[in-house]
Amino acid sequence: MSRLKTLRKLESTLESFLTRVVEAEQGRMNSLSSVDTLDEIARDSLKGRIVNNRLGDWFANNRNTVEKKQLDMSSIESIGNLLSDIRSGLDPADPISRKLSDQIDKWREEGIIPRRKLILKMSKKAPDEDFLGKFMDFMGREKELFDSGEFEGRHLLSILDDVLKSAEAKEDTMFLHLAGSMIYFLKMNGYKVTPFAKRLKEIENIRLRGRNAK
């Protein structure tokens, strides 16, 4: 057999093998396609973009597959986590966003998608005796800051911007705590807080990297 013929045979064998791999993985591909699309939506949602239409389309295209559990467990878990990310960025004041949030909640309540796993870890060192005192110290100093009149007449969102700048510039971790607390309060009252939460996370990461480098 000539060299070219041998190569052609090898080419055909490999192509046929790869075609069969794709055919065998069709189910997995469908799962990954569904998760991949939702992943793109979640990434845009975290950037503060409006994703209502795309999320609505995703539900329309994937409702049956998810509800009939036609996806593998790892995909269902990924979908649950991604929907949690997206849900936190949906605007509760907008009726379409509310409808989409309700759909996500319904799936969670019916156990169609798992709730996000939250693992809290505590360091092994002996608990600080004055742990509560430290927390109270933060609360007290935060109150003093507000009582000083520095922020008088300003909206909480603008104050949060200042607090995040202080958290970035100062060593005092009280500003991180205060920013987190303000973000949560704003979220509870229907404000879109994703960009602020992202800034806080970035500041925390920078501090963590700085601490690890020491």
Binding site: R3, L4, L7, R8, L10, E11, L14, E15, F17, L18, T19, V21, V22, E25, R28, M29, L32, S33, V35, D36, D39, A42, R43, S78, N81, L82, D85
Partner: protein, 81 residues
């Protein structure tokens, strides 16, 4: 978020479905350091790369240029060398 390995695998399968073997090889190569516990992905990557090598080799063989020099001695045609 979808992890890089799953994302690359999905994109590679998509490319294979479209017979875009070079793109598939690129996606699989981008996450090859995560293949330690996934031998099936390593086999897939090696197969795609082997196929590309075979195709390149075939292309070279099929497009080999044959240079023929005609030598004339005393005005008479001779054999081609």
């Amino acid at each position: 978020m979808l992890n890089d390995s799953d994302k690359a695998y999905y994109r590679a399968l998509q490319a294979l479905g479209e017979k875009d073997y070079r793109a598939a090889a690129g996606f699989l190569k981008s996450v090859e350091n995560q293949f330690a516990d996934k031998p099936e992905l390593r086999i897939l990557k090696e197969s795609v790369e082997l196929l590309l090598t075979v195709k390149d080799e075939m292309y070279e063989l099929e497009n080999e240029t044959i240079e023929i020099e005609e030598i004339l001695i005393n005005g008479q045609e001779t054999e081609f060398l």
